[in-house]
Amino acid sequence: MPKDVTDVICPFCGTLCDDVVVTVSDDNKTILSVKNACAIGAEKFNHQRLPGRVKRPRMRQPDGTYKEVSYDEAIDWTAKMLVKSRKTLMYGWASTSCQAMSIGHEIAEKVGGIVDNCATVCHGSSLIAIEDVGVPSCTLGEVKNRADRVIFWGCNPAHAHPRHMSRYSIFPRGFFTVKGHKGRKIYCVDCRYTDTAKCADTFIQVQQGFDYELLDAFRTAARGEALPDTVGGVPKEKIYEVVEELKGGRFGIIFFGMGLTHTMGRNHNIDEAICLTRDMNDFTKFVIMAMRGHWNVTGSGQVLGWQYGFPYAVDLSRRDQARHQTGETTSVDLLNRNEVEACFYIATDPGAHFPINAMISSSKKPTVTIDPHINCTTEISDVHIPVAMVGVEVGGCAYRMDNVPIETRKVVEPPEGMLTDEEVLTKINNRVDELLAKGGA
C-alpha cells in the first residue's frame, strides 16, 4: 500500500517549505506523487525515480571516458588528492546537511582546504554587506503576522521562490494581518517587469545597475533632502511618494535577491538597502531579508560561523588558523588566480553556475565531485562520487533563509548500496587520518 509522508521539507530553495506531502511506494523505494510543493520542488522529488541514475563512483580514464569504481577506490583517490595538494578548494555544501558539513570542515582543517559555499556566487554580497553594517531582520512568520508594506527589490520569488508569496509575504492572513493581501501594499523594484512585479501594487522600474543610486535617493528623500529630477530612471516625485507610503506603514520589509547581489556594486547595493531599512526604523518598524537561494546555503554559513567565525570563504589552508577575505579566499577568485592545486566539490554544480574561465582553471586540476546526479561538474572531474539525495533519501539539519533551522526528512530509501554525504565524508576523513599517520600520501 502506498503511504503518505507528511510535513516533508522541500530541499530546493531557502524558503524551505515544510508542509509537503510525499506518497511513497510500499517498499519505501519509489516516490509516487508529491503534494503542496512548487513545480521545482516537485521535480526534485520526482528526479529520485528517474532512470539512468549513477549508483557507483566513476573515475575518468586516460581516454576521457568514465569507468565505474568502488567507493573505497574513489575515497582513497580523494584522500590522497587532499593530502597531497598544498591548497584545496572545497566548494559547495549548500545542498547537504549541517551534520555532513561538520565532517567536511574537520577534513579541511587537516588537509588545508578552503571551505566555500554557494553564497560565493549568490548572496555572498549580502554577507559582505551584513559584515559591514549589520542587518535588522525577522523570521518569516513575523512578515506573515505583521507586515503591511512589502518590497521586493531585485528579486523574483514568482520564479525563484515560488511559494514564498503565498506562504509568507503577499497573500497569507496572519495575526495582525487578517485582511491578507488586501491589507498589504506590495512594491517591486526591478529592471524587468517580472512576474513578481505583476503581483505588486507599485512597480518601480530602475535602470539596470542603478539600484545603489536609487536606494541612496530613497534615504535622501526619507531625510527630507533635495533630489535630482530622476535617479536611475525613476522620477523624484515617485521616490518621495513611495518613501512617505513606507513611513506610513506599521511594519515594512524589504526582500532582495540577485538583482542586488549580482549587479554593479554588489555588496554596496545591499549595504545601502540595509541602511535604508535602518533609517526607516526612525519612523516605523522596518526589516530586511535576503532571499537565500539553495535550501541549505544558510546552514553552511551557520556551521562555518560557529566553528570558525566566518560565513563562507573560510581559508584553513595553513591548518593553524582560519582566515576569510572575500575576493581572495572566494572560489571564483581562487580559480581565476590559480591559487589552489586541487578542487573538491560537494553538493553543488559550479560547472553550470561559475563563469567558464573559472571552470577552465578548475578543469586543469585534480578534481573530485560528490553529487547525487551527473551534472556539468562531474563531467569535468577526475572522480564522481554519487550519494543519496539529502532531504529525500536521507535527513539532516537545514537552515531556512531567515536562519530558522528545520530538520529535513528522509522519505524514501536511496538506491541499494548508495552512501550518504555523511558516510562518504566520514570515510574520506578516516582515510586522510590513515595517510597522515603514515606521513602523507
Binding site: D7, G134, R167, F175, G309, P405
Partner: protein, 569 residues
Amino acid sequence: MSEYIIKNGHVFDPVQGIKGDKKDIAVKDGKIVEKVSSSAKVIDAKDKTVMAGALEVHAHVAGPKVNAGRWYRPEDKHFDSHKKPGITRIEGGKSIPTVFKTGYEYARMGFTFAMEAAMPPLYARHVHEEIHDTPIIDEAALPVLGNNWFIMEYLKNNEVENTAAYISWLMRQTKGYGVKVVNPGGTEAWAWGLNCLTIHDPVPYFDITPAEIMTGLMTANEYLGLPHSMHVHQNDLGNPGNYKTTIETLQLAEGVKPKNTFGREQVMHSTHLQFHSYKGTNWGDFESAAKEVMDYVNKQKNITIDTGNVTLDETTTMTADGPFEHHLHGLNHLKWFNVDVELETAAGVVPYIYDPNISVCAKQWCIGLEIALMAKDPMRCFITTDHPNAGPFTRYPRVYSWLMSKKVRDERLNTFKNADKVIGATYLANIDREITLYELAQMTRAGPAKCLGLMKDYGGLKAGMNADIAIYDINPDKFPSDGPAIEKAFGNAAYLFKDGRICVEGGKVVDMGQKKTFWVDAKVPENKQVMHDVREKFLRYYSVNENNYPVPESYAPHQHIITVDATKA
C-alpha cells in the same frame, strides 16, 4: 574507569565548609568518593588550590544571535584565530569565541558547566547544534518566555496552570532548562518599534504589563517546581536612572515561596545587575546605584543575582532585548543586527567598545565590581560578564584579580583618564573588601549550582558528587599580589577533572571528556486547552509546522534529563 587521589591540595569547598584545609580528594568512576584503592593515580596538589569545577550561570555561548555576532564580525578574529598544539581544533574570536574555543577556554579556567542564557524556542535546534559542537563542558539552555504570545495570553487571564502546561510542553520541544525572561513585554512591543521601559507599561495589544508577566511566570515556575527559578533580564536595561525599576522588579519576589526538590531557595534570579544599577538622568550625570540595589538584594533572601562585570574590552553586545540594541546602535552607530522571532521573542547584536578613557565605561566597570563587593551573601551573588555583553567570559581571571586584590583594582581605578570624576560617581574607591578564595568558590561554584538546582552533583567536592575538579597553581598562603599572576593562575588550571577524566593539564586541553546536555522534563496533567492552542497557533501563525518544531533527542547525544512531576501540584 581510572581512579585518582588528589593529595596535599588546599581545598575550598563551601558545600562541606572547607576553607583551604589540606584534604585529599578521591575520584572513582566519574564521582568523588570517600576512598580509592592503592592503585589510584596520585595527583600532587601541594601548594595548589583545589575547588569544584566552576559553573557559568549566565552567558551567551550558543545559538542564533551568538552566531550572528560571530560571523558578522570577521574583524573580531582576523588576527585572533590559532590552533594550539595537541588535540584541539582551531580556536577563533576575541569577544565571541567559536564553539571549540568556548569549550576549551571554559575548561582551561576550571569551568565544567555553562548555562546558555537565551534560547529562542523557534531556534532551539540551532542552540543545540552549537552545544553539541562545544567540547568538554556540560551545558543547558534557557528558553526565552517573557514575550511569548501563549504566555501573555494565559497570564492576562491569570491562567497559571495553562501557563505551566505550555512551559512544560515547550521545554520538551526545545530541550530547555528553565524560564528565561528578557525585557518582558518590551520585546513584543519592539515588533512594532516600541518598548516597555517600566514594569507597568502595557504591552501593545496583549493588555498585560511586564510586572504581571514576571509575577505569573514566577508562580508558574514554582507550580512546576523547576530546578531553576525564573531568570530575568529586567526592563530598562542600561539607562541612567533605571535602578528604581530594578528594585521595583526585585520586589515582585516578595512573598513568593520557592517550591522544589532541588534545594533551590530563590524564586527570581536577576541577571547582569550592573546594567540595572544606574542613577542619574543622562550619561553626563550618570552615577552608581550599586548601594541602593545591593541593600535591597542583601535583605531579600529569595532572590539571587549575577554581576555582569565590565571588562574594558572591545566586545559584542547581544540580547533578546531588541529595543535596547537598537537604542545602543543609535549611540555608537556600529553595525546593528536584529531578528524578531514570530510569536516568541527578538534579538539584537551591536559591537561595543568599553573604552577606559570614557568615564561612562569606567563607571560601569566600578558598578559591576561594587555589586560583587557589596554582596553580603556570596551564595546569592555570582560573577559573570554577561558574556559577551560586558566583556568576554575569557576575562574572568582578570575580573577575579580586581575582586580579590584591592591593590590591583585601585591601580586600574586610579589610572582612568577621568579618575576623579569616576571615583566621585561611584563607591568603589572606598571599598576595602577583597573576595577570598572561599568566597570565590561560593560565587562561582556552590552558589550557582544551588541557584540552578544542580547542587546534588555540582559545585562541591563531597563524596557522591560529580568529579568535576579544578586545581589552580595558587598557594593560598602566598596569594599572588600582582594582577597578571592571578590571571595566569585562574586562566590555566593545573588540572581540570571533568566527570573523573583529566581534561586540562598545565593549562592545556588533553581530553575532550564527554559533555552532557541538560534539559528538564516537567510532567503536568494532560491539558487539552493548551494542546488545542498549540495546534491552532501552528496552523495559523507560525511559519513552520508543529511536527517540524521539536528538537529531536539526537541533537543531545549525551543528554541528562531532569524530571519534575507537577501532576499533583
